[in-house]
């Protein structure tokens, strides 16, 4: 500027401008349409920050990876010299180290009510079959030749529609794709009310959707609630050791909630604690999307494949419920299987709404919450299995 210092205008690229528009769209969707605002607004602003040339909040290497934070000791000097920025520090110590997604899962556990899953344990089966989308999309992504096997697994896990396991797995297996995968995962979770109904309608008859289920589930005692997170954690940890960080944090958070003596801790974990971590995650994920990384055919493929993942996930849950009905004396509404794709509580609400449309006497929300919660457990198990196989 007037020969005194360098402005950023000269360094702007068309890619940066396109990313500004994408950031603007995300911020608009968050504010005006209230679509996952706690994530889309920080992600949008993070994209703005990283695409402003010379800003230095997130510095990238020539290969397109965030510049490495070598040691805590040299941190201040490295920031001073412009070798790394504040967001590099948040990325390295918050996301690359897996700390933020795991602590967010602790908060999610503290907000989760597992009673519907405990009252109807078959819910776990629907949660499992709803992971079909993860594996179908893994096959498509890998055979397309656009992704390595590790990247394909991370694209697939979007179909589990659970944020923390997606971030956890991608940070471990394909950190270069963390930005687009996280963005697509959270955006599509907000779009569940649009994505699921056509699939459900295509795979069920009106008669099936109208099946009435008793409005009340059985009572779950306090002892069952307390034993559930402990026993499930122990068994899952023994069967899939790589899922321990995710299931452990999830169940620990839940134990804080149900123990009856740690209400303050549970409220803290599910309140300000998770809020702070969520915006740190959002802004850092946004900063992982410079134009050079985001504007690629891989990103477009991820956007398309995520729809396939959600569709097959919904179908997997539905088919399992329809199969179960062949053997059950008291028929269940097969739509509750579709809630196994997690996306708590949106997919359960979709089932409730569609159930009421088919039969106004139908109240499926509590029935759908069981597979919904089981889906969250299932996605953590899947992340652990994929880590065990591919790391």
């Amino acid at each position: 500027m007037f020969g005194l210092y360098e402005t950023a205008f000269g360094s702007l690229t068309w890619g940066n401008v396109i990313m500004f528009l994408i950031a603007g769209l995300l911020i608009y969707l968050g504010i005006a349409r209230k679509m996952e605002p706690v994530l889309l607004i920080p992600i949008g602003f993070g994209i703005l920050m990283v695409n402003l040339p010379i800003g230095g909040l997130m510095v990238y290497s020539a290969e397109g990876f965030p510049a490495e934070v070598s040691s805590l000791g040299g941190l201040i000097q490295a920031i001073g010299r412009g070798e790394i920025g504040l967001l590099n520090v948040l990325y390295t110590y918050g996301i690359e180290s897996e700390v933020i997604p795991l602590l967010i899962f602790l908060g999610v556990g503290a907000m989760t009510d597992f009673r519907p899953s405990i009252a109807r344990p078959i819910s776990f089966l629907f949660g499992a079959t709803a992971q079909l989308g993860v594996f179908i999309v893994f096959i498509i992504a890998y055979t397309s030749g656009l992704f390595t096997v590790n990247e394909a697994a991370c694209v697939g896990i979007i179909g589990g529609s659970d944020g923390p396991p997606t971030v956890f797995l991608t940070a471990a297996l394909a950190p270069r794709l963390l930005g687009p995968i996280t963005l697509v995962a959270y955006s599509y979770m907000a779009l569940v009310p649009i994505l699921q109904p056509p699939v459900i309608k295509a795979l069920t008859t009106r008669k099936q959707r109208a099946i009435v289920m008793k409005p009340q589930l059985r009572d779950v005692s306090k002892l069952e609630e307390i034993l559930f997170p402990i026993v499930i954690f122990l068994v899952a940890a023994l069967l899939v050791p790589k899922s321990v960080p995710l299931i452990g944090m999830f169940m620990f958070g839940n134990l804080l909630r149900v123990s009856g003596v740690t209400d303050r801790l549970a409220q803290a974990a599910g309140g300000v604690f998770i809020d702070v971590l969520t915006f740190l995650l959002g802004i850092t994920v946004g900063a992982l999307m410079p134009a050079s990384v985001f504007l690629t055919t891989q990103t477009l493929a991820i956007i398309g494949l995520a729809i396939v993942a959600f569709a097959f996930g919904t179908a997997g849950g539905l088919w399992a419920a329809q199969l179960a009905n062949l053997f059950l004396k008291e028929k269940i509404n097969p739509m509750i299987g579709a809630a196994g794709v997690s996306a708590v509580p949106m997919s359960a609400r979709v089932v409730q709404k569609m159930g009421q449309e088919a039969n106004p006497r139908n109240f499926l929300l509590m029935h759908a919450m069981g597979p919904n919660m089981a889906g969250a457990v299932a996605t953590s198990v899947v992340a652990g299995i994929l880590l065990g196989m591919l790391m």
Binding site: A128, V134, F135, V149, F228, V381, L386
Partner: protein, 50 residues
């Protein structure tokens, strides 16, 4: 294209997922059943004649 890897990850992964979740479902069901059986039924207090 490594088809054996695809079969291992997709087929094996999905199969193991189902197996693990079936086990978790059984565990949750067994724990629930044991707790319900061991819960003492509330004692009925005989109505007192006044």
């Amino acid at each position: 294209m490594d088809w054996s890897l695809i079969a291992k990850v997709a087929g094996g992964g999905f199969g193991v997922t189902i197996l693990v979740l079936v086990i978790l479902s059984l565990v949750a069901w067994i724990v629930g059943m044991i707790v319900q059986k061991t819960r003492k039924p509330a004692k009925e207090t005989p109505a007192k004649d006044k």
